[in-house]
């Protein structure tokens, strides 16, 4: 019996697995899933309704998985990542570019009140303009770039002062 833990979107998933001939029986919550490794990062799900081939590969502490064309990322618990990817740093008060690119236009000014979905900035990448919207309600505290600047995904373009929630 082998116990494993992963995070998906910040939620802990615990499971136990047991080798059973060429397959493994994995218990996740109420369900038992039989997995048979096929090599080349491919796995067959057997005896669980319609047969599926799943692909899984690990990179930098994150498992990238394709189940029926759904792409998921599961992170290992010893890593700080909660499945956080580019443009999603889990912080609602900082606004990042979804991918490296060039700032086309800033749509807000310092001091301006914003709400969820307020358009904040337009970033151009791969010759397409991508509009980045606010994920929270608050006030623009700082703007760190100007139109025409190149941005990466690590430095926040805009910082917000969030409206404090009444608990």
């Amino acid at each position: 019996m082998n116990k494993t833990e992963f995070y998906h979107d910040g939620e802990l998933i615990e499971m136990s697995s047991e080798k059973n001939g060429d397959s493994y029986s994995v218990t996740v919550g109420d369900s038992t899933i039989n997995v048979r490794p096929l090599g080349n990062n491919l796995f067959a799900i057997v005896d669980n309704g319609p047969q599926k081939i799943v692909a899984a590969v690990r990179s930098q502490g994150v498992w990238h998985i394709d189940v029926d064309s759904v792409q998921l990322e599961l992170s290992e618990p010893d890593e700080s990542g909660f499945g956080a990817g580019a443009g999603d740093h889990g912080e609602k008060d900082k606004v990042y570019a979804p991918m490296p690119g060039k700032i086309v236009k800033l749509l807000v000014e310092v001091g301006q009140e914003v709400d969820v979905k307020t358009p904040l900035v337009i970033v151009e990448a791969m010759k397409m303009e991508n509009q980045v919207n606010s994920k929270a309600k608050g006030k623009v505290k700082a703007i760190n770039f100007a139109a025409g600047d190149q941005v990466d995904t690590e430095t926040p373009i805009i910082e917000l002062e969030l409206e404090t929630k009444e608990e």
């Binding site: 998906h8 990062n41 690990r58």
Partner: protein
């Protein structure tokens, strides 16, 4: 069937073709050259040192740094590369220099054949305003709108009122959804106009845009054309490309459910008329919008081989790139081209590096795992391999998945199965999104309008727990058996063969036993 023997003797095919492109289309063209026994030269940028198109070509030449202006768009470097390798023809693929009349002219001047139409035809059709004027002359129907390009917002406002909202702003030099904006009301006009001009300027170096009426519930139906240098021109039926996100096609099919034999003949004849009006002599595509009552309007002619050309190849059996190369060498269209029929149904899904779960944001990264589906009627035109880097430098198309089946329903089933068995990890794709499109009742019923995605796909189901559980179970098993066959993370310690991993098995037995 087949080519006249006398003609084969009289004309000479090219000996060596340089492919001035990258990714899947470069690989596709190299395959066509191989079919014809022609040697191939790939060009590549510093970002593409390990790219598939470079690895499959007979020879390759480094152009320069990643930015297109210093590599795939640098005419001097490409001409120099062709001369250095002794290439007698250049195939431009799509995008980059494919519809650049100056490049076509330069090739001619240097004594290198350009595999595409004449510079004059490219110029005429490349200018959406000039081509509209020409179409009015030959009597092909057009969508109401501005006859000339303008910059004054007031002229746009007036034209918008005349055509009636909603209206569409388009780049005169445009294509691929870049520099294109739908405007529903007068107060959106200025923002949309500015955005369209900026995108047009960045994508094409020309911020000229124009305005036309936006047709509600239209279908995008285009006709494939093949013409030779002897005045012969045929159409190879339609492709319906209505399923678009951000005005860019993602799912294409042929035949179109919207066309009956009469409309097909009528539109096909119009497409041939358009080509002849432009003295066209290569493979090309005439795009139309079809409205709900079967009315059709000329949109534009694309003077290149198109991304979605494989579905036409599947139903007609014609290798379009091979024929494009032959006509460029001066051959006549082969006899069988005049007796083509549409056999079965074909669908293409474009595999972009983009997040189908997050507004199709471009996705970059290293491809950590790559495996293709196989089977009868399943075709993959791919420009990537495991280990390929998808960067922000170029168009995010990685591959195209094409299926062919006897009818539409079975083609849909086959496509969904093939998508599920097409595994690409490390970058996001829209595979799941496209599956959900094809499972939608409106898609199955053939009600595929260009607004299909906005109308039907905004309300999607959340990830279900079963999928998460399966993923977690696989990760647990992968983790337990890891160090063995993961290619991600640190090192590939040991890569056992499939035969070692699969254990006891019997050929012909089910994997479930």
């Amino acid at each position: 069937m087949g080519y006249g023997r006398g003609e084969m003797m009289a004309n000479k095919l090219f000996k060596k073709i340089l492919i001035a492109n990258r990714s899947e289309i470069a690989v596709r063209i190299i395959n066509a050259c191989r079919t014809l026994g022609i040697a191939t030269v790939a060009v590549y940028s510093e970002a593409d040192v390990n790219a598939k198109h470079r690895l499959v070509a007979d020879e390759s030449v480094l152009l320069g740094p990643p930015p297109p202006n210093e590599s795939y768009l640098d005419v001097d470097k490409i001409i120099d590369a062709a001369k250095e390798c002794g290439a007698d023809a250049i195939h431009p693929g799509y995008g980059f220099l494919a519809e650049n009349a100056d490049f076509a002219r330069r090739c001619k001047k240097e004594g290198i054949a350009f595999i595409g139409p004449s510079p004059e035809a490219i110029e005429l059709m490349g200018n959406k305003v000039a081509s509209r004027v020409k179409m009015v002359d030959v009597g092909v129907p057009l969508i109401p709108g501005m006859k000339t390009a303008e910059t004054d917002i007031n002229v746009f406002a007036k034209a918008a009122v005349e055509a009636g909202y909603p209206v569409l702003i388009k780049a005169a030099a445009g294509g691929g959804g870049k520099g294109m904006r739908v405007v529903h009301a007068p107060d959106e006009l200025q923002t949309a106009l500015e955005a369209a001009q900026r995108e047009a300027k960045n994508a094409f170096g020309d911020d000229t845009v124009y305005l036309e009426k936006y047709i509600t519930n239209p279908r995008h139906v285009e006709f494939q054309i093949l013409a030779d240098k002897h005045g012969n021109c045929v159409h190879l039926f339609e492709r319906e490309c209505s399923i678009q996100r951000r005005h860019q096609k993602i799912i294409e099919e042929t035949p179109s459910v919207a066309l009956d034999d009469d409309l097909r003949t009528c539109m096909g004849n119009a497409a041939v008329l358009v080509s002849k009006a432009a003295d066209y002599d290569s493979a090309g595509t005439v795009e139309f919008l079809v409205d709900e009552s079967g009315g059709f309007y000329f949109l534009e002619m694309n003077t290149r081989i198109q991304v979605e050309h494989p579905i036409t190849e599947m139903v007609t059996g014609v290798d379009l790139v091979v024929e494009q190369i032959r006509v460029a060498a001066g051959f006549k269209l082969p006899d069988y081209m005049y007796n083509l029929t549409q056999r079965g149904h074909a669908i293409e899904c474009r595999i972009y590096a983009e997040d189908g779960e997050n507004n199709f944001m471009p996705s970059t990264g290293k491809i950590l795992h790559y495996s293709e589906p196989v089977g009868p009627g399943v075709r993959v035109d791919s420009g990537v391999i495991a280990g390929s880097e998808v960067t922000i430098d170029y168009d995010p198309i990685m591959a195209k998945l094409i299926v062919h089946a006897p009818d539409r329903d079975s083609a849909i089933v086959k496509m969904i199965d093939a998508l599920n068995n097409y595994k690409i990890l490390g970058v996001k794709t829209s595979k799941r999104f496209m599956i959900e499109c094809m499972l939608h009742a409106e898609f199955k019923a053939g009600r595929t309008y260009t607004n299909f995605i906005e109308q039907n796909m905004s309300d999607r189901n959340d990830l279900n727990d079963e999928v998460i559980n399966i993923a977690a179970a696989v990760a647990a098993v992968a983790d337990e058996t890891s160090g063995s066959f993961t290619t991600g993370g640190k090192s590939v310690a040991k890569m056992p063969s499939v035969w070692e991993m699969i254990g006891r098995f019997e050929i012909g037995a089910s994997i479930n036993e």
